[in-house]
Amino acid sequence: MSTLAVHDHGVAHHEEGHEHHHDTFLTKYVFSQDHKMIAKQFLITGITMAVIAMLLSILFRIQLAYPDKSFPLLETLLGRFAPEGRLDPEFYLSLVTIHGTIMVFFVLTAGLSGTFSNLLIPLQVGARDMASPFLNMLSYWFFFTACVIMLSSFFVQKGPAGGGWTIYPPLSALPTAMKGSGLGMTLWLISMVCFVASSLMGGINYVSTVLNMRTKGMDLWKMPLTIWAFFLTAILGVLSFPVLVAGVVLLIFDRSFGTSFYLSDIVVNGQVMPFEGGSPILFQHLFWFLGHPEVYIVIMPAMGISSEIMSVNSRKPIFGYHAMVYSLIGITVLSFIVWGHHMFITGMNPFLGGVFMITTLIIAVPSAVKTFNWLATLWRGNIRFTPAMLFAIGMVSFFISGGITGIFLGNAALDINLHDTYFVVAHFHLVMGSAAIFGMLAGVYHWFPKMFGRMMDEKLGYLHFWLTFIGAYLVFFPMHFMGLDGVPRRYYAFTEFASMQRWLSVNMFITWAAIMSACAQVAFLYNFISSIFFGKKATQNPWQANTLEWTTPVEHLHGNWPGEIPSVYRWPYDYSKPGAEEDYILQTTPLSQTMSSNLPHDFEDNPAGLEALNKWTSTQKANEEVK
């Protein structure tokens, strides 16, 4: 590949600029090094994985709603995984595990960051491409390999990994422990190693591009909040994924070489195993040191995307730009010192638990700052309810309703009761599941014209939004009450327990709500695919936004801008500025061209500019008097 890359570069040098770029099918669509194409690859792979993970969730929802019923169709579809039309209990565990893994890592980490960081970082900071396009391409192909390996585990005899997406030992460390601990688990680990490699390559590239390749005038405080969010997300990934690797390496040694990092006093099928002296808690520490930052890796890009979209579609500057950035930084820093709140019931020293509790609850502060700023951005704006805007608002809604239960769960005293119940399931599906996927969908609707040069259908977008929004609440809200009643998560048939039988009707309700929301995604998929080919042609700046990506031509070119990269003169949120001719001023418009709307505040470090402004205002005043 590297020879190809060198050759490519040579071509670009010989011709004027980058526009006449001779690509073969292979270098343009498959092994592309262009960040826009890689973004599309990530998006389409991410959406495919999301659909698969959603179908898995429908399968186990059917089991939860109808634990005693036989569905011959299931046996036809799944074969030995659903004997006599009922899901095999161990396969149920595999479904839960793979649903979680795919959604958290493959959709909301790679699908979200991979798509939008790749698309927007070079376009919004004003760069021709990423710092290392080759590494970027490699990042996608590692991700693709990880996807293939993860899905291939459905085709092995014993089925995919079944120990939950957190793969706690001993289940994950003993190949003989259960069906899902066998080859499926091995494949899970291999897939994850590829995935982490992909994430690191991507993240390293994002950080380097943001710090080194901004265009002239684009200082850090002129970057859109999307870029801030992607940048900090990438930093989180770069610092936390290696820790997961360390944990997984030790796990592999335990699985395959017989070491005892995590294992001690194990008896399998009446046979005493030779493991001695290990500690499963050690794995939890290593896992959650990644795992907690991971949930912010998932939500922060969604936050950045929503901030941008809400500002554009409220035709108002984002409220509290600096506060938004500092709260993102605050979340980034805090996310590294809260992992213990996943481990309150591991016999942790109560004092240590108290420390983790305090750090956890402090995260409510930056989160609330963000929430109030979003609401204040909407306040008295000229709101345009585009589908993207609706999804961004939906993201805020889920973030609030899911975030509030986070405060409950962050309390050690409450968590000891609520741990591993459906309350937790409800909490994280709202705050990081639904909120992040809504952020991602908002981004898809908003930047679709930039990616494919065409518009998505608005009516289908509205249908998609309302069904998904209502559906997600109907699915996850009742789970809070189940959790408060003590219903444990990951159980195959908890309604077999007399005390929980009454939840069967609720389970049926949730399943039908889930099926409805799943059907709503058909509207999205149809809209997405048909709009790529037949959508209305997009104009250069369909949303009348300020950021740099809308100054590029609709037709994609290698290098993004046909001539010189534009310089940046102002922050990205000059919407509805009093005195301006239009309700938006592009970042590339110099202050000298907008004298009527300039404010003294615009010239903080620029005394010459301030003087010019004062002179201009006094002449204006003089003219007024003459009149």
Partner: protein, 193 residues
């Protein structure tokens, strides 16, 4: 004019790529930090210590690695002074020392396993940690050797000086990091003897 802009952009881009290496070093550092903190958590939880004297060859390998850092430093200096023969000679020496480091580490494992009867599989996982940590570092060293080889081949092929220096710098950043992280790991293990 156009060519000048192009050149400038390439230069900027090389800077960004160098930065990529720095960030990669952070990720590597986090990996080793995770191993050593895992070690500490394990010791704290089980109350076990390493309880062995580390093989002597680790001490020699440390010295070898430090010397290789010094030779690499002079190789970079020679490259900057356009003295390519000296650069290549010193790179050969550095590669030799790197391989010597590899051999000494392997000999250290041999001593551990065959002389001291301390195996990877041990109910005291701190001893397994010695193997895992040194293995992880060894894999990094192999990566470093590949970088050294690419610098050397670049210099032999007389690639443009900008690229030559760029490769040298990337190699140097990574190799010095390997040196420093090994000293950290070795001291960490020594303190936990």
């Amino acid at each position: 004019m156009m060519a000048q802009i192009q050149q400038q952009e390439d230069k900027v881009n090389l800077g960004a790529k160098k930065f990529v290496m720095w960030i990669f070093i952070f990720t590597s550092f986090m990996l080793f930090a995770a191993f050593t903190s895992g070690f500490i958590v394990y010791v704290g939880g089980s109350g076990k210590g390493l309880g062995i004297a580390l093989p002597e060859s680790f001490r020699f390998s440390t010295i070898v690695l430090v010397i290789s850092s010094i030779t690499l430093f002079f190789a970079s200096k020679a490259a900057k002074q356009l003295d390519f023969d000296k650069q290549q000679r010193l790179l050969w020496v550095t590669i030799g020392l790197g391989i010597a480091f590899l051999v000494l580490q392997l000999y250290g494992w041999y001593t551990l396993a065959y002389k001291m009867k301390i195996y990877l599989v041990d109910p005291n996982a701190t001893r397994s940690f010695v193997y895992v940590i040194t293995l992880a570092h060894l894999l990094h060293v192999i990566g470093g050797l590949i970088w050294l080889a690419s610098s050397l081949s670049g210099s032999i092929k007389r690639i443009p000086q900008v690229k030559n220096l760029y490769r040298m710098e990337m190699t140097a950043i990574f190799w010095h990091f390997l040196d420093i992280i090994w000293i950290y790991l070795y001291v960490f293990l020594l303190l936990n003897q």
